[in-house]
């Protein structure tokens, strides 16, 4: 691979071409906030938290889906970026019913951590309070639409890692929901292998095993990366 020079936050970096901005930043200890990025599966640019400024480009681009180019000048922590990160976080919270104190993921939730990170002290948008179902039809697992942020990490893990294609997304706009098979209850799914990878991929308390109660959730999203690394080595 050919090496190119790029500038991130006024720092000159020699990087391999073909990498995404997010990969380069992670390798160089530059912090980029993300929710939908998961090591081991493809990026889709769904959460819009990794937006960065690139000189010469008018709009903000998502770091996870934009590849570095020679002499690119990237800024990751300007006032504008910080403002957008705060807005995006508030909108994520306002869209569904995120009640941390009664959530299984309390204390181990990526969305909660994001809220702390952007110093969100209030939500300036009216909450939607949608009527969301909690699917408890699976014998071991629960899908709680109230906590879902539509990052589609479960959808990608199910199709790319497990190859079961149980999950997908229905409708569009604010009516989007995660679905199993033909919008059937999870327990009646004919494609789900009950492997449980989606539970570890989920950043919030939307997917969890039935055996736990409030604040007990223990997620290991890194197992997806380990699994894919082993697969690449042919293990």
């Amino acid at each position: 691979m050919q090496n190119i020079t790029i500038y991130i936050d006024d720092k000159k970096l020699e990087v391999e071409s073909g990498k995404t901005i997010l990969e380069v930043c992670r390798n160089n200890n530059i912090e980029i906030l993300t929710m939908c990025h998961l090591e081991g599966v493809l990026d889709v640019g769904a959460c819009r938290l990794c937006l960065v400024e690139i000189e010469g480009v008018n709009k903000l681009l998502s770091a996870c889906t934009t590849k570095v180019a020679a002499n690119m000048v990237i800024r990751t922590s300007t006032e504008r970026i910080k403002r957008y990160q705060r807005i995006t976080t508030e909108l994520l919270f306002a869209e569904r019913n995120h009640m941390c104190s009664v959530c299984v993921a309390n204390g181990k939730c990526e969305l909660q951590n994001l809220g702390y990170k952007v110093e969100m002290d209030s939500i300036r948008y009216p909450r939607l309070f949608p009527q969301c179902e909690v699917d408890t039809s699976h014998s071991w697992y629960v899908l709680d639409h109230n906590r879902c942020i539509m990052c589609t990490r479960c959808v990608r893990v199910c199709s790319e890692v497990e190859g079961a294609f149980n999950w997908s997304v229905k409708n569009r706009g604010y009516q989007v929901r995660i679905i199993s098979d033909f919008n059937t209850p999870w327990g009646e799914s004919t494609t789900c292998t009950s492997c449980g990878k989606c539970l570890h991929a989920c950043p919030t308390g939307a997917l969890w095993p039935k055996a736990i109660v409030q604040g007990q959730l223990d997620k290991k999203p890194e197992i997806i990366e380990e699994l894919m690394a082993k697969r690449k080595m042919g293990l």
Binding site: S159, F165, N166, W167, S168, V169, K170, N171, R172, I179, S180, D181, F182, N183, T184, T190, T191
Partner: protein, 167 residues
């Protein structure tokens, strides 16, 4: 999935000639997964909506994951999972029609047929929908009755036209 689909498939093929149309379309497209939208179009045109057993049939024939077929169907507004009724009445509520009294037409329909937009009558004869703009602003207020555009309508005319259709 297998037993349920096999039985529903046999049932469809024994009783319904429209399935042949869909089967022919799938064969023509070589059972390619990326022809899903074209095949769904054929099914939607044949039935007026997409019945669940037809979706299962298509899913099985194209060897697609059920979740992908369902998400495709629910994403596009053209596809419908519920019957839109034997006859459809699409009231345009675009700016021109709105100004010329589209809401009055909808009130009249609700008053005479007890149907709100998105609803289908109990006997499945008539379904009422609204559209943002059908591009016939010169005919405002316009209504599309079973693919025929009726323009410059008054409350009396809309009732008469619908009655002529569903009688």
């Amino acid at each position: 999935m297998s037993t349920e689909i096999v039985s529903s498939e046999k049932e469809i093929q024994n009783t319904d000639p429209r399935i042949k149309l869909i089967a022919a379309k799938m064969k023509k497209e070589n059972y390619k997964a990326d022809a899903l939208i074209e095949i769904l179009h054929t099914a939607q045109n044949a039935y007026g909506y997409l019945p669940m057993n037809i979706l299962k049939f298509i899913t099985k024939e194209l060897k697609l994951p059920p979740s992908r077929v369902y998400s495709t169907v629910s994403f596009y507004h053209f596809f419908s999972l519920k019957s839109k009724g034997e006859h459809t009445c699409l009231v345009c509520t675009g700016t021109a029609c709105y100004v010329k009294g589209a809401l009055g037409l909808l009130d009249e329909i609700e008053h005479k047929f007890s149907l709100k937009p998105g609803q289908v009558s109990a006997d499945n004869k008539l379904g009422v929908q609204v559209a943002r703009c059908i591009g016939a602003c010169g005919l405002a207020p316009a209504v599309v009755l079973d693919d025929e555009v009726h323009g410059k309508l008054t409350n009396e005319m809309i009732t008469d036209s619908i009655n002529a259709k569903i009688k």
